[in-house]
Symmetry: C2
Amino acid sequence: MPGLPNTLKARRLGIDTHHEAVVFVRADSAVSRSEGFASRARVEVRHLDRRVVATLYHVTSEILAEGEAGLSDSAWRGLRLVDGAPVSLHHPVPAQSLAAVRGKAFGRNIDEDSARSIITDIVAGQYSDVHIASFVTACTARPLDFNEVVALTGAMIEAGGRLRWNLPIVIDKHCIGGLPGNRTTPIVVAIVVANGLCMPKTSSRAITSPAGTADTMEVLAPVNLDIATMRRVVEQEGGCIVWGGAVGLSPADDLLIRVERALDLDGEGQMVASILSKKIAAGATRVVVDIPVGATAKVRNDAAAHSLSSMLTEVANAFGIRCHSLIGDGTQPIGRGIGPALEARDVLQVLRCEAAAPEDLRQRALFIAGELLEVAGAAPSGSGVVLAQRTLDSGAAARKFDAICRAQGGMRPLPIAAHSHVVAATRAGAVRRFDNRKLALIAKLAGAPDAKAAGVDLHVHLGDSIAPGQPLYTIHAHTTGELTYASEFAARNGEVIAVDD
Amino acid sequence: MPGLPNTLKARRLGIDTHHEAVVFVRADSAVSRSEGFASRARVEVRHLDRRVVATLYHVTSEILAEGEAGLSDSAWRGLRLVDGAPVSLHHPVPAQSLAAVRGKAFGRNIDEDSARSIITDIVAGQYSDVHIASFVTACTARPLDFNEVVALTGAMIEAGGRLRWNLPIVIDKHCIGGLPGNRTTPIVVAIVVANGLCMPKTSSRAITSPAGTADTMEVLAPVNLDIATMRRVVEQEGGCIVWGGAVGLSPADDLLIRVERALDLDGEGQMVASILSKKIAAGATRVVVDIPVGATAKVRNDAAAHSLSSMLTEVANAFGIRCHSLIGDGTQPIGRGIGPALEARDVLQVLRCEAAAPEDLRQRALFIAGELLEVAGAAPSGSGVVLAQRTLDSGAAARKFDAICRAQGGMRPLPIAAHSHVVAATRAGAVRRFDNRKLALIAKLAGAPDAKAAGVDLHVHLGDSIAPGQPLYTIHAHTTGELTYASEFAARNGEVIAVDD
């Protein structure tokens, strides 16, 4: 109805609010007054037959003219707008599935229909982060039982694409808790796939760390593959290492994980649904989950690890697949590099069996690959590591990795940072402790993960004897500004690597 | 540290994000890259010794220049900035009390210290709405026990100002559920105070309705009184009707309620803490809580009402005060006007005992006032309504109301809308049903509550016999544009008042 005060002209404000849609209107606009929209209200924005639910903010300055609605990038994309296009604002119909979230908070179980409508509404952008936070908390405070986890896992799979490979065995792995050591993935995939197995691996980018597996892999080959290209690569080479965000498997998971991370809260049931929905959507039939246990890890004790492990196994069975857990200590960083290119260098050194390759990374990758080979039936029980080692030492894994990189769009040369700064020991002693949090922060201040070659390179291990002036680590950066910034932070913030007698 | 990339020049963007602080920075800025701030990250913004925790959004357009940080109005006020002032961005230290919220989600009770630190952090702006949503949901899913409600109530009282009156009896009332009928408050206060009792009443403004009690009262007198002025009014006249938002009693409550409303979720314990913290902070010693029960009311059945009532009584006792609940049916709208001035007119008609006064509003106000008089010991049991009626009919209540208005800053004449439109019955029959939701929406489309005289005036009651062409209701507006908008909505949206045989 043109001329009505709820119709405005769209303007792209160039504001990236991540997935949450935001619309800005003048506080003195007719639409705000007549519809009674308060600032931070949820409103439905319509253009033609498209609609998104957005958070409304009032603007009192001249960044918007009367009659304009400024939209965030996500709302702009969702409505497929052009500048000046008419948009109208309405009171949104609250998502029906919120009743099921409220019900869960009051103790009612989530059934299949509820799980499907909750996940569908989340993916459609009907939930604000406030609603997602309530859902996540309700599922932690009223722990999901087996049937609820199965319902949620199924709904999360259905909400996105799903790959099928027409093979009896498709293998996948997952590591819980984001410990350093993720960079085993490219090595493990290469070893397993070189043995004739199918492993269509999707990985994530860094959210709070200096590099995710997808960032590290992107140094060496394109990872932003769509689902059709991913399928072609896997059919040709048997495996891939791509960014999960581009292929749209279990799209609700990314939205849930972001809020879970803000709350530092993820119940066992949600963790199981999150892991298995991605793996099943990727077509896996046998999954190995690495569960490091430690005071600073996501899983704090053995009892919790065993409970998680058995729920993973049972829910996987409900979907006709097998899941095997590796429970063990995992508090030490693995490898030398922190940052996409430095980690990629570690990976290549291991794959190419170079003398300089970090031994801890090699051993960890062989251990996990050995488990996968056994779980997939490619090696008898107890002999997986031996097969993995043979595959690595013969050069077969390196050749397979090169072939996967070419299939994903071409192998790239390792970038090297233009500027570096060495941090040396100020006294003699032994290496007692790494502050992993500060090391990660220094790598980020130096520019990682966006500046691919930026980061921190470690020169010592726990327990090493150190002479005064001996290099402890090197900071790498693309610009002198970032190098100075990271170096000054390191100098000001106490011992990053503790050395004493 | 000047020159470091995390120092930017403050710019007021004129964006009202309500209480949540937001900072906008360019996506290509050095601070985003070096600190690794993703869009929607939580960041700490510092200026001199002041700091706020804000949500960061990336900007890719020219609304910000390189080196600038755009701030929302709430962040601007919190940091007391001037244009161009230096602000620096940092990774925030997560609020320690979030561990207690997580603990509650996992089943650990909230003790006094935890309650105090949670509420302190919420009032200090350390929690995003995502964290508040998690807290609210955890307290619903793991219901608060008596000790937890007492701890939470105490923490909410401590977080704001507190009034003390040096009187043995200070009376207050609260109505749960926002049913039409809130406009009894000015009448009830006038009757009770005319009998020599002390009743320092704070009320809320509309958030989603066409008028809150504070909006209605503001038509007749100023309500934005600070705590010192409120005290002076009450000491002089024995009572007041002011806006609670201006006096800062239990400031956490408003932040919690906004999220609870978005989630449509408030557990019994939180409702009790919310109600009692405001009343105790206002200095009340005897409180009457009106609990309407109905399918569309906040409290759905008698069992829930009785459970709520007994927790109110017990928690009130823990703070040395008395709380009495009125449980009853309350699904019918009361009075004729919907909108601040139209409701204020109803109130004045009842106070002045005019022949045109709506009888249902008069009866409801007398009933509640009678209960208060009995609870306060000003009338023997069973005779409160008689005393209330005598106070109203003698003109004593009207004189007291005028005196309170003068003390609050002067009685104002009732505004009258410039434009109106009568909606008439299209056929004969009886009035079967009011669509209260649509009536409220029409009043808001017409401009209420900001346009004080705008709204809807009802001309019929449930069960009335109606002739074709007989007026059902009148829409009032300040401008012809708003009148047209509201009238067209009414015409397009089916039966607002259902009439049939």
